[in-house]
Amino acid sequence: MHSNLFIDLAYVAVAVVFILGLKAMSSPVTARKGIVWAGWAMVAATLVTLFFPGMQNFALMIVAMLAGASVAWWSGKKVAMTDMPQMVAIYNGMGGGAAAAIALLEFTKGEVHGMVAAALAVLGALIGSVAFSGSCIAFAKLQGIMKKAFRLPKQDAVNIVLAAITVILGLAIISADHPGMGWIVVFFILSLILGAIITAPIGGADMPVVISLLNAFTGLAVGFEGYVLKNPALIVAGIVVGASGTLLTQLMAKAMNRPIRNIIFTPITGEAAEGEAIEGTMREMGALDAAATMRYASRVIIVPGYGMAVAGAQHKVWEMTELLEEAGVEVSFAIHPVAGRMPGHMNVLLAEAGVPYDKIFDLEEINADFAQTDVALVIGANDVVNPTARTDKSSPIYGMPILNADEAQNVIVVKRGKGTGYSGVENALFYKENCRMLYGSAQEVIGDVISHVKSMG
């Protein structure tokens, strides 16, 4: 394949802009700029490629481009915000498919020369095909087209056997001087099946992580095919995405508290995870998550309790409040009549920390506001936010008015572990769908949240 210096340099520039764009996208402040830069770079890359030496088939190519682009553009614009994840999945799958198709075409043309190129072509084809079929399944599941989680008997064993066969076939193709087209087609088909059956049993809740993984896969596939085409721009863009995507997948899995291995090998079966909260499961959350949730909220209500007093966390809590307010978040404190262990316990501590009186509200003043609040941050409080007090006549706390923290969009509960409050009863709030536990002593946890909030500029 030949090119010329101008085109080569243009590709270099495109690769650089992609990297800068990606960097920009990892901070909320510059994210928007990032995608716009990357968008222009993509346009430039496409235009430049039209002048690539020895190009033919322009008419058909342009039809293909326009068709693909307009279908995707239109669907991407029309879809509801809540359906975004499956769109990401399907577009990603298409990228993987494209990479696989490139490999297929190169094999068809017999233009894969040399061991390394052959290996990378095959690897790219495998990964690209897996990404393609896997993403299609992910899309189908999220879109509700495929309703049931599909799980073979002895799924893990089947996966391994199928993968092994595919890999062996791949090795054969690599080592063959002129691999037969038949084998190549079989190889592609097996790869597609592999992608599908790996993804099929994975549940809805784990889908974002899987999509991210498939996204990293596509990146790698693109990078490998870039080598086959001796196009470093493809290599750089693909591998950068592959690496960052892998990291991102890890981060996402960590944020969801699900090791990647568990997701793929013992998936949560779809239904349960997609449905309502499971009685008996508290969901954890990390400090970074909590920080971002509050940092980008417009309203936060803090509910302090005896645990804040025990931890002596009041100064940190106030510092966090100030930070959030600087970032434009409206923060108030909701004091339950019997929070703590003496009348005015919370007042004394908040005053000590310097919280101005006009941010402090009692139950009657603030209880109606929870429903319009993005985040209720419960710090070492327990009984005073326990919804069973409203409903369960047998509960020792029945009849006590409680702070309606559970009505907030998100509830974040800071406590050390599974300890109960003064009354010793279990708290139904902690099991609710919209509630996340942020474990640790309040002082430290809030300290962590503070540093994360700071890092968000």
């Binding site: 025990v310 009348p343 005015g344 316990h345 706390i397």
Partner: protein
């Protein structure tokens, strides 16, 4: 005819609180009740008559008692006033149920229903009715102020142009509601606070307020959360550690009252004698006998160069808010049972049942019956 709620002026000397405040009266009227008040009943608590809206004013307490279906009181009613009550009427407030057998007999004879909030079961739901707690909060705050005000020393650390004054050490005995409030208040003013209580779970509570727990090395924690009896040796060790802390402090606040019983003597005369010149002792339990040997209730006495203050009617030092709290506590207690101007008590209700002293000519509270021998 709507329910009539009666509020007489308090008669006990030194008492400045009142059992309703204007906001609460408004709510009773909103529930369909009529409120009859004795003129000037709110005045000692700085609630002038004009502040109350929609009230029927009468000149004399007798009229209040004679006309009301429910009578409120911060202190128990006198024999004479009980005599004026309608049969079947309800009396609600603080009744000192353990102390005066004759009063209880008179109540039985008049066949009135009485609720003594001292008997309130301490369950979660009843916290909003808990007069003992709310008044303890007032008392704890006041005692810390009394100590600061009477101390011949600065409470806070203070660096001034010619030197530095180190912060005063305040020791609080008893970390119930009042004790914790005293700790918090003394800390706010700037003192270094230590505190002691027999209940071991108070350690965490004391520390949650930034104070230090006096560790006597003896734990009274027994099985099932009850305190166990200490051995003599342990008692001696405890007393010794305590005496040291007492000798070391600049101000001592004792809050260990036990409702219905004489307060335990925790600080002996000997311990007081070992205190530094210019120290101050505020014995919040003075009214019920005192935690400090030699306290004179209602007076200040010098024991050597140590001032021992035995305040009484502590909550009457802050009648505006003490009354507001009581008024809300009483309202929270009784209002669920006032519907459309009628009183409909639910005797199944644990709180109602638990608080009732007399009803239909019977003493309903076992403990009181046994104590008074009725």
């Amino acid at each position: 005819m709507p329910l009539v709620i009666g509020v007489p002026a308090e008669t006990v000397s030194g008492e400045r609180r009142v059992s309703v405040v204007p906001d609460v009266v408004k709510k009773y009227i909103g529930l369909g009740a009529e409120v009859v008040m004795q003129k000037g009943a709110g005045a000692p608590a700085h609630y002038p008559d004009e502040a109350f809206e929609g009230v029927k004013w009468v000149d004399d307490a007798n009229e209040v008692f004679a006309s009301a279906d429910i009578v409120f009181g911060v202190q128990p009613p006198s024999q004479a006033h009980i005599g004026k009550m309608k049969a079947g009427a309800v009396w609600l407030g603080m009744l000192q149920p353990w102390s005066d057998k004759a009063r209880v007999e008179k109540l039985l004879k008049k066949n009135v229903t009485t609720f003594a909030l001292e008997l309130l079961p301490r369950i979660t739901r009843s916290q909003s009715m808990d007069v003992l707690s709310s008044q303890a909060a007032v008392a704890g705050y006041e005692c810390a102020l009394i100590a600061a005000d009477h101390s011949p020393k600065f409470f806070p650390m203070l660096t001034y142009a010619a030197g530095t004054i180190r912060p005063a050490r305040v020791l609080v005995i008893g970390a119930g509601v009042a004790g914790l409030q005293a700790i918090a208040t003394a800390r706010r003013i700037g003192a270094m606070v230590e505190a002691y209580d027999v209940r071991p779970e108070t350690r965490e509570q004391i520390e949650s307020l930034g104070a230090k727990f006096v560790d006597t090395g003896v734990s009274a924690a027994g099985t099932g959360g009850y305190a166990r009896e200490l051995t003599d040796e342990e008692k001696a060790q405890q007393a010794e550690k305590l005496a040291k802390a007492v000798a070391n402090c600049d101000a001592l606040i004792t809050t260990a009252a036990i409702p219905g019983r004489k307060a335990p003597i925790i600080i002996t005369a000997d311990m007081v004698a070992r205190m530094k010149p210019g120290s101050v002792v505020v014995d919040m339990a003075a009214e019920s006998g005192g935690n400090v040997e030699g306290t004179v209730a209602g007076d200040k006495t010098w024991v050597g160069d140590v001032l021992v203050v035995g305040p009484t009617h502590i909550t009457s030092r802050m009648p505006v808010h003490a009354s507001e709290m009581i008024a809300k506590n009483l309202f929270n207690f009784i209002s669920p049972f006032i519907k459309d101007g009628e009183l409909a008590l639910d005797w199944e209700d644990e709180v109602i049942a638990g608080c009732c002293l007399t009803h239909e000519g019977q003493v309903r509270h076992d403990g009181v019956r046994q104590t008074l021998g009725l």
